[in-house]
């Protein structure tokens, strides 16, 4: 049953500063969704607006601490080695130091309750979670790893879309990852997507919309084209919440919207319901 054997012990990553230490309790914040103002400490453990339930954006390493019961990172050494576009190297360096990641996604093997999964978490603080070739490489390897080891994939998406500095290579990642999704699918394995704020552009037009089951965090912005581009194309203002997951769910593109505090249990439950049973 258990095809994957950890080489190292599985231990939850301990970090020097959790988000609640990073931002002072007394800091006054406005909810990006509903606009209600509150003290940082009122967001609580899960960093959720007490008024509307919107989940504040998390760095990938914060999310992994909040949501998983164990996590062991894989492919941490993968990063862009030849950023030749002007200014790109500096942007990457800043993103790396802010997120403690080599690229805009964190990948590894995690447990939710006792359910083992291949887990990917995109980080919108790393160059807006844009899809670089090494982002694509890490996600592709995650699917390949899961296919080899018979694991489900759980992927938290967050992305502004393409990585402009990488040009066509960024576009090719959409196809590269999709090829790995196809092989994973053909092995009869579960791919669970969790849409988080914001998921847009090329990520929406590829692996964010290829899951067997699609969950979402409340009020997350998810779309293909940017709202301003749409408005200037159709010369019309978009209705409120047009690209929020509540609207996507009403339109048939999301299975359930799950509050952050329930996400761990929900993922465990869905994965458990995909255990292979003998008939």
């Amino acid at each position: 049953m258990d095809l994957y054997n950890h080489q190292k012990s599985t231990s939850k990553i301990k970090r020097d500063a959790s988000v609640n230490d990073r931002i002072p309790d007394g800091l006054f914040l406005a909810c990006p969704y509903c606009g209600v103002q509150m003290y940082n400490k009122q967001l609580g453990h899960y960093r959720v607006c007490a008024h509307c339930g919107y989940g504040f954006r998390l760095q990938a390493r914060e999310r992994v601490d909040l949501m998983t019961d164990s996590f062991e990172e894989i492919d941490s050494e993968i990063e862009m080695t030849n950023p030749d576009f002007p200014g790109y190297a500096d942007k990457l360096a800043r993103a790396k130091s802010q997120t403690e990641l080599g690229e805009s996604v964190l990948t590894g093997v995690a447990t939710f309750e006792n359910e083992k999964v291949a887990l990917g978490i995109m980080d919108s603080y790393f160059m807006m979670g844009s899809l670089g070739s090494m982002t694509g490489e890490k996600i592709t390897r995650l699917f390949e790893y899961a296919t080899e080891n018979g694991l489900p994939v759980v992927l938290f998406t967050a992305s502004g879309g393409a990585r402009m500095q990488e040009g066509i290579n960024s576009l090719m990642q959409m196809a590269k990852i999709s090829a790995a999704v196809a092989s994973h699918q053909e092995a009869g394995l579960l791919y669970l997507v969790v849409l988080t704020d914001p998921t847009t552009g090329g990520v929406t037009a590829s692996f964010a919309m290829q899951g067997d089951i699609t969950l979402a965090e409340p009020h997350a912005l998810v779309g293909f084209a940017g709202a301003r581009v749409i408005e200037s194309t159709i010369h019309e203002k978009l209705p409120k919440d047009f690209q929020r997951v509540e609207t996507l769910m009403a339109n048939g593109f999301v299975d359930q919207i799950v509050p952050r505090s329930d996400m761990n249990k929900m993922i465990a439950k869905v994965v458990r319901l995909h255990h292979k049973t003998e008939v």
Binding site: F85, S133, G136, T140, A162, M164, Q165, E166, G167, I168, N169, S170, L171, M172, Q173, M174, A175, K176, S178, A179, A180, V181, A182, S183, Q185, E186, G201, G202, T204, A205, S206, F207, A208, M209, Q210, G223, F224, A225, G226, V229, I230, T233, I234, E236, L238, F242, Q243, T247, N251, G252, F253
Partner: protein, 266 residues
């Protein structure tokens, strides 16, 4: 080798900005290409879900006697036609029509040829509500599973995910004055430099010309353009025949693996 033959025909090399400009001219029309390359074209309409997107022309035809499925993005001819086709920007139901025809090709073991000329998928309100992202995502994913050969030909603009949706194929070819890019040079300049007027500069650094893309193995072949359109169509017909013949020698599993490996290399 094919490249050299192509390059010899290029009289003088255009700058990337000039290629961008040319790629947006109505040099070739989708129906003209279809009628010039194939015979017996039978157009098939609709996605069987929500409508029929006129910007995606699809159907079956004969390639020198062999049945193939043809899917082409069309910008339209006159103003009215261009408006109804949004200058070649497909709606989700255009991509879903393409998916339907690809599945059909798979069932009947017909090779697939796509012709692409789009600034990108349409950024509209209905498009968004009906899942433009999902439609493209599924086109890409389903293309990865096809057990019949597929060749994509970009004959004008190859705009981003809206082009990739029909170019997740065994081979991608481009017309000599076509482009393929992550977004338009105007968009690129406006995002990176906050100045859409620097689009010529953007075109130069984006690597969107056929020559750049061939060097990166994003495409396999550059189709030399000629004022004699029949000459271009004859070349395409001949080459499609040759390549499909070779690809048909692979088992379905080999074909799928090779296609996935093609994209794995990026």
């Amino acid at each position: 080798m094919a490249v050299n033959i192509g390059l010899k025909l290029f009289k003088h090399e255009l700058s990337p900005a000039e290629v961008v400009k040319k790629s947006r001219e109505d040099r070739f029309l989708a129906r003209e290409i279809i009628d010039g390359v194939f015979t017996d074209f039978v157009e098939l309409h609709g996605d069987r879900l929500s409508g029929d997107d006129m910007s995606v022309i699809g159907g079956i035809a004969a390639l020198n006697g062999t049945p193939v499925t043809v899917i082409a993005i069309d910008k339209g001819v006159d103003i009215q036609d261009k408006l109804s086709k949004r200058n070649g920007s497909p709606e989700p139901w255009g991509y879903r029509k393409a998916q339907r025809l690809m599945q059909q090709a798979n069932k009947f073991h017909r090779p697939i040829v796509t012709f692409i000329n789009t600034p990108g998928a349409f950024p509209g309100k209905t498009a968004e509500a009906q899942g433009q992202g999902e439609a493209i995502a599924k086109s890409i994913l389903e293309s990865m599973k096809l057990t019949v050969p597929m060749i994509a030909i970009i004959y004008g603009e190859g705009g981003s995910g809206g082009a990739l949706a029909l170019a997740t194929s065994d081979q991608v070819w481009m017309f000599q004055n076509a482009t393929y890019s992550i977004l338009s040079p105007e968009g690129f300049a406006s995002i990176l430099w906050k100045d859409s007027k620097r689009s010529d500069e953007a075109a130069a650094v984006m690597g969107l010309t056929p020559k750049d893309l061939l060097a990166k193995n994003v495409i396999e072949y550059i189709i030399p353009e000629s004022r004699s359109h029949p000459r271009v169509f004859n070349l395409i017909r001949k080459r499609l025949q040759d390549e499909f013949k070779q690809l048909s020698e692979l088992t379905p599993e080999e074909l799928v693996n090779q296609r996935r490996a093609r994209f794995r290399s990026f």
